[in-house]
Symmetry: C2
Subunit: 276 residues, 2 copies
C-alpha cells in the first residue's frame, strides 16, 4: 500500500491554452476527490499549427514544471500535444501519463456501427495521422476520414460558439465529411466540444459526436487505480484543491475558465515556462 | 565617413510571424540596395493577445538573435511589438531601431482633414493606446476611435482574403467606427493590408486607409541617412541579399512569403529563438 502522501498529491493537467479546461471539467466530475493542477500555455497558444519539434520542446518544459510541483500523474489535455509529444514524454518520466488521443480513439471505435469514423482537429493533429493509427490498431477494418479545422479555435476563443459565421465555416469544413457514411465524429481538439451544437446540427442526428474528454477521465481513473494512486474518498474533509497556472494573460484565463467550468475561478498564477 | 562594411551590413526586420512581410515588401521597394534579414516568430505567433511582459521578453530574444547576425539597424515590423516593446528595446541597444507605430501615426495625421482618425489592430495594440498617444502628441485636437479585430489575423492566415465570412466579421468590427466621422483608418496590424479591399468596401471611399508600412520604409531611409548607414547605390554588382529565419514551420512560411512578396522565396532557416 502506497503512502497516502503520494495519493494525496495533485494530478497535473496541461494544455496549449484554454481548451484543456473541457478535460479538466470532466476529471472534476468523474474524480471529485482528486486535487488538480492545471497549466495552460497561453503565451504560446496555439499548438495546432506548430511542428512536432516545437510541440515536444514546449511539452517537456511543462512536464518539468508540473514535476517541480510534485504531481502524481499527468494528463495531456491537448490533442496536438498528445499527438506529437506523448510517446516521447512517456519514455522520459517515471509517473503515469495519459493523453486524450488513445481514449478518444477507443470511444470512437466503440461508438461506430458502420466502421466509418470522422476525425476533426488542428492542422498538426490531422497531419500526424495519430487517430488513424490508434483506430486501425483497434480495428483494421475501420475507415477514417480526417479534416483540419484551423479557424475553430480562434472562433471559440472569440466567443462565437453560436454564430452564423461559425456555422458558415463549419459547413465548409464538414461538407466533405458528409460524403462518407460516417456515424461517429471525433472532436479531436479540446476546443471543439464548445461548438458541439453547431457541429451536431451540421452533421445530423445519425452522426454521434465523440468527446475524448469523457473517456480520458475514465481511463485516468483506471490508470490511477493500477498504480495505487487514487485519492481515497471521504478521508479529506476539506475537499479537493484546484490550482491554475498559465504562461500569460491571467484575466482572460480566469474569465474563460469560469465560463467553461461553470464555477468561480478565483485566481491563476503566471509561470515563466521557458525557464523550465 | 563610416566603413563601407557597416553600410554593407543587413537590416534586421522582425515580426511575430508572417504579417511583417508586408513591411519587408515596402522596404524592398523603397530601399532596393539594402540587404535584408527577416525573422518571423512563427512558433509563438500571435503576439496580439499577449501581455507586455511576454512581448518584451520575446522581442528581446529576437533582437539578440539579430545582433548576433550583425545587423546595422532593426525594424520592428509588428504593431503589437512596436506598441509594447519599442521604448524598452531602443534604450537597450546601440544601433538604430524603428517601429511601425510612429510612422503610421504621422501618416494618419497627415492624411486626415476632419481630425477624426480610426485605428484597428490586435487586442494588445488597441489596449496599449499607443496610436492615441502618438497622434495626440502630433496634434492634440485629433479624435481617435480604436477597435480590436482579433479574428482578422487567423482569417488572413487561412487565406480568406476575399470571402463572405471575412466580410461578415469586418462588418461587425467596423460598424461602430462608421458612426464617427473618421476620414482616415490606420491598418494597425501588418496582416490587415492583405484585407484592404474588404475593409475599403466596408468603410467607403471617403475613408483613406493608412498602411504604416509605406511610411515606415520612408522613415527608415531617413534614419539610415542620419546615421550614415545607407547602402551606397550601384557599388554592388550582385544586388541585395534577402535572408529569412523563422522559429517554426518553414514550409508554410515559404509559401505565404511567396504570395505576399510576389517573388520566389527559396529557403528559410529555423532558429531556436528561446536560446537567445
Amino acid at each position: 500500500m502506497k503512502q497516502s502522501m503520494e495519493q494525496d498529491a495533485p494530478i497535473g493537467v496541461f494544455d496549449s491554452g484554454l481548451g484543456g479546461l473541457t478535460v479538466m471539467r470532466e476529471i472534476m466530475r468523474q474524480l471529485p476527490e482528486e486535487h488538480l493542477l492545471y497549466f495552460g500555455d497561453t503565451a504560446r497558444v496555439p499548438y495546432g499549427s506548430k511542428s512536432k519539434r516545437t510541440v515536444c520542446r514546449y511539452s517537456r518544459q511543462i512536464v518539468r514544471f508540473l514535476q517541480s510541483r510534485h504531481v502524481k500523474a499527468i494528463v495531456i489535455a491537448c490533442n496536438t500535444a498528445s499527438a506529437l509529444a506523448f510517446d516521447e514524454i512517456r519514455d522520459e518520466i517515471d509517473i503515469p501519463i495519459i493523453g486524450v488521443v488513445e481514449p478518444g480513439a477507443m470511444m470512437a471505435a466503440d461508438t461506430t456501427k458502420t466502421n466509418n469514423i470522422g476525425v476533426i482537429g488542428t492542422e498538426s493533429t490531422v497531419k500526424s495521422g495519430i487517430y488513424d493509427k490508434f483506430l486501425h490498431r483497434i480495428n483494421p477494418d475501420i475507415t477514417v476520414v480526417s479534416k483540419a479545422c484551423p479557424l475553430f479555435v480562434p472562433l471559440v476563443e472569440e466567443g462565437l460558439w453560436e454564430d452564423r459565421v461559425t456555422e458558415d465555416i463549419a459547413g465548409r469544413y464538414l461538407h466533405e465529411l458528409k460524403e462518407y457514411e460516417i456515424d461517429a465524429l471525433v472532436l479531436g481538439c479540446t476546443h471543439y466540444p464548445l461548438l458541439r451544437r453547431i457541429i451536431g446540427r451540421e452533421m445530423g442526428e445519425q452522426v454521434k459526436l465523440v468527446n475524448p474528454a469523457y473517456e480520458t477521465a475514465k481511463s485516468l481513473k483506471v490508470l490511477l487505480t493500477e498504480h495505487d494512486l487514487l485519492h481515497p474518498s471521504g478521508i479529506d474533509d476539506k475537499g479537493p484543491t484546484y490550482d491554475y497556472y498559465v504562461s500569460d494573460g491571467v484575466e482572460k484565463f480566469i474569465s474563460f475558465a469560469g465560463d467553461v467550468l461553470s464555477c468561480h475561478v478565483g485566481k491563476a498564477e503566471v509561470v515563466n515556462i521557458e525557464s523550465y
